[in-house]
Symmetry: C2
């Protein structure tokens, strides 16, 4: 079966069940600075993330996937809002908010970090960017980390201003992304290491250019720092990318599952700690005692987490619709956890997903997954799949 015919089946299943539901217009769901540009590109579907609309569909899912894997795609990811920490205690607050050691983080460097509450529960997983000793951005996942950071800052009496600046990332992703971004900004971008960034401007539009992005295909995020210039920046990148056949896309559900990238809120629940979802390597247990949640994380590390995150491959060679709820996973007749996402992998030609399961379950184990009332045989696997 070709990827395209797989999509045909999936699309039929979807339209019968879910995809025809529309999203109601509201000022509560803010459009991004790139909204008009994405409308002009023919956007067909959105999700909501950080109280904003994010494009998810331009009507050609297979083409959008292939563009990400083989070419270069342009994504409106303005929903990755920035929580800015500014002032004399900005660095102190940044460290208090995350159990990852930041003592060696330099200006112009970013780091993927866990935010935990006092019980060690994961409440966001942003990229932290250090713009200066007294200015940081948390480029956040889908929870109100702004209020969280403000609460901690104010309760601790820190001298820091916590705000959401006018900053909206535009992602350029795929193996040809570097060529496009270099054509636009210059060859210096080729020397940027992962999560490193630089403040610059293009045609008078202030931006931060970072090697970053929610895919494993490589790429950059251009942080627009003037929301009135969204269309202009989009068009500049679009034009610069023409030789590489750039086109619109969005954070790609299929690629991110194949690549093992975590979606906070989708793959996590109200009691998930970093150790359960492969973020243990970003927890430094010897950070200072005033780091939120560190005492709880030390306890969890000492006894070991109850669950861990694996992959699961389902039997069958026809796509099933993506789940909207976690699916129970059963092993030897007993529930061991849940499948937390699900996609049809174009490369593996299988339905795959993440499994948040008891640590007693290991890769290679045969399991059953409850899919819409049916028990589908499956096998646990290491992440990433590819």
């Amino acid at each position: 079966m070709t990827a395209a015919s797989g999509w045909g089946i999936l699309k039929a299943a979807l339209s019968a069940r879910f995809a025809m539901h529309t999203i109601a217009p509201s000022t509560r769901l803010r459009p991004s600075p790139f909204h008009e540009a994405t409308l002009a590109e023919g956007v067909r579907g959105f999700t909501v993330y950080n109280h904003m609309l994010m494009p998810t569909d331009y009507g050609d899912p297979v083409g959008e996937y292939q563009r990400l894997l083989n070419g270069v795609a342009l994504w409106d990811v303005a929903v990755e809002r920035q929580v800015q920490l500014a002032g004399p205690d900005a660095g102190r607050l940044a460290q208090i908010l995350t159990p990852r050691d930041l003592s060696t983080l330099g200006a112009g460097e970013g780091r993927y970090v866990a935010l935990c509450d006092h019980a060690g529960t994961l409440i966001n997983d942003p990229v932290l960017l250090k713009l200066a000793d007294d200015r940081f951005w948390l480029s956040i996942a889908d929870s109100d980390a702004l209020f969280w950071a403000r609460a901690i800052a104010a309760e601790r009496g820190l001298e820091v201003d916590v705000s959401e600046p006018d900053v909206s990332p535009l992602a350029v992703q795929g193996p040809q992304a570097e060529a496009v971004v270099a054509a636009l900004f210059g060859d210096w971008v080729r020397g940027l290491k992962r999560f490193r960034f630089k403040e610059t401007a293009i045609d008078g539009i202030p931006v931060v250019v970072a090697r970053s992005g929610w895919s494993k295909q490589g790429g950059f995020e251009i942080y627009l720092m003037d929301g009135s210039r969204g269309r202009a920046l989009w068009d500049l990148v679009r034009e610069a990318g023409r030789p590489w056949d750039i086109g619109p896309g969005s954070p790609n559900a299929v690629e991110r599952v194949e690549s093992g990238l975590l979606s906070w809120g989708g793959d996590t629940d109200a009691r998930t700690n970093p150790f359960e979802v492969r973020l243990g390597r970003f927890v430094d247990l010897d950070v200072p005692d005033d780091v939120v949640g560190i005492a709880a994380l030390r306890r969890i590390a000492a006894r070991g987490p109850a669950r861990h995150q694996l992959g699961v491959l389902l039997e069958g060679d026809e796509p099933t619709p993506p789940p909207i709820r976690w699916r129970e996973i059963v092993k030897d007749g007993l529930p061991i956890g849940h499948q937390t996402n699900g996609v049809w992998s174009y490369r593996l030609r299988r339905n795959i997903g993440f499994a948040l399961v008891s640590v007693t379950a290991t890769p290679g184990d045969d399991v059953e997954v409850l899919v819409d009332g049916a028990r589908i045989p499956g096998r646990l696997a290491e992440l990433p799949f590819l």
Copy 2:
């Protein structure tokens, strides 16, 4: 022009611009316990609220509006999540979180409250329910008040557990709601005053029944306390409501604007304080000094807020599509604030909305509103409209 023909125009304008966009299925956007029931009712559109899907459209907007105004409607409002405060310091935390005096709040009583940050900015506007001296629910608007409450509780060292319980409200709204709820639960519900509630059960389904709801047409909210029984509770209410021709609906954008009900996040921005949006009467300046934000609120009250919330009626007798961004309002050539929502009022036969404008502007003032590049004449008015 009839309400129905007004809708025809609006629908045509909408489908050209927005309403055909679909929402992508994802485990990050949780369905409600009533999801399958609403699918069976023919739900057509959703919004996202508190990381969950909420039905907004069953394909008959005029019928849904008329049912709310003249009969009785059933709404899936499970997205009104509860933040539970439980433990010896639950009452103390509740008071710390809101500048409304709770000293006279009894068990079985609820109160509409403002949650503010330390700068006095409104970050949520829940209904607070006191279940017992040591157990409270905040029935929240669309922000992560769970994390906020946890941060404050932990930083202050309070002995209280802050959690999201398995509780999902189902609203029964409209002038016939009392008859339906009395038929189901008994005549005692007729004696419930606004925001009073009682824990009970129906067919073994544990619920809280409250006189409450996000409309001015009267009604109840039935808080389902067992998420596995959503379909059963929906069907019970549907069956009990049959003599009054009950039907599905959702929080109604038109009615709530006509009635002057605030939507946090839609009608507020990053610097809105309670005094600006008609919530000053819910701020008691003499609450204890440890209430979050009270010092800032006292300063704001002393100097007076910069903006206030009015209505605005636009010229023209044809519906315009609802805004997805705030619209600038101009008076005597100068910007004075924004129109924060917009609907076609079936009763007033006008496009109306809320205006968050300088306190120098008053009801009766002639203004201009920037609608998609055009300057539409309008007039400021008192809220509510009706």
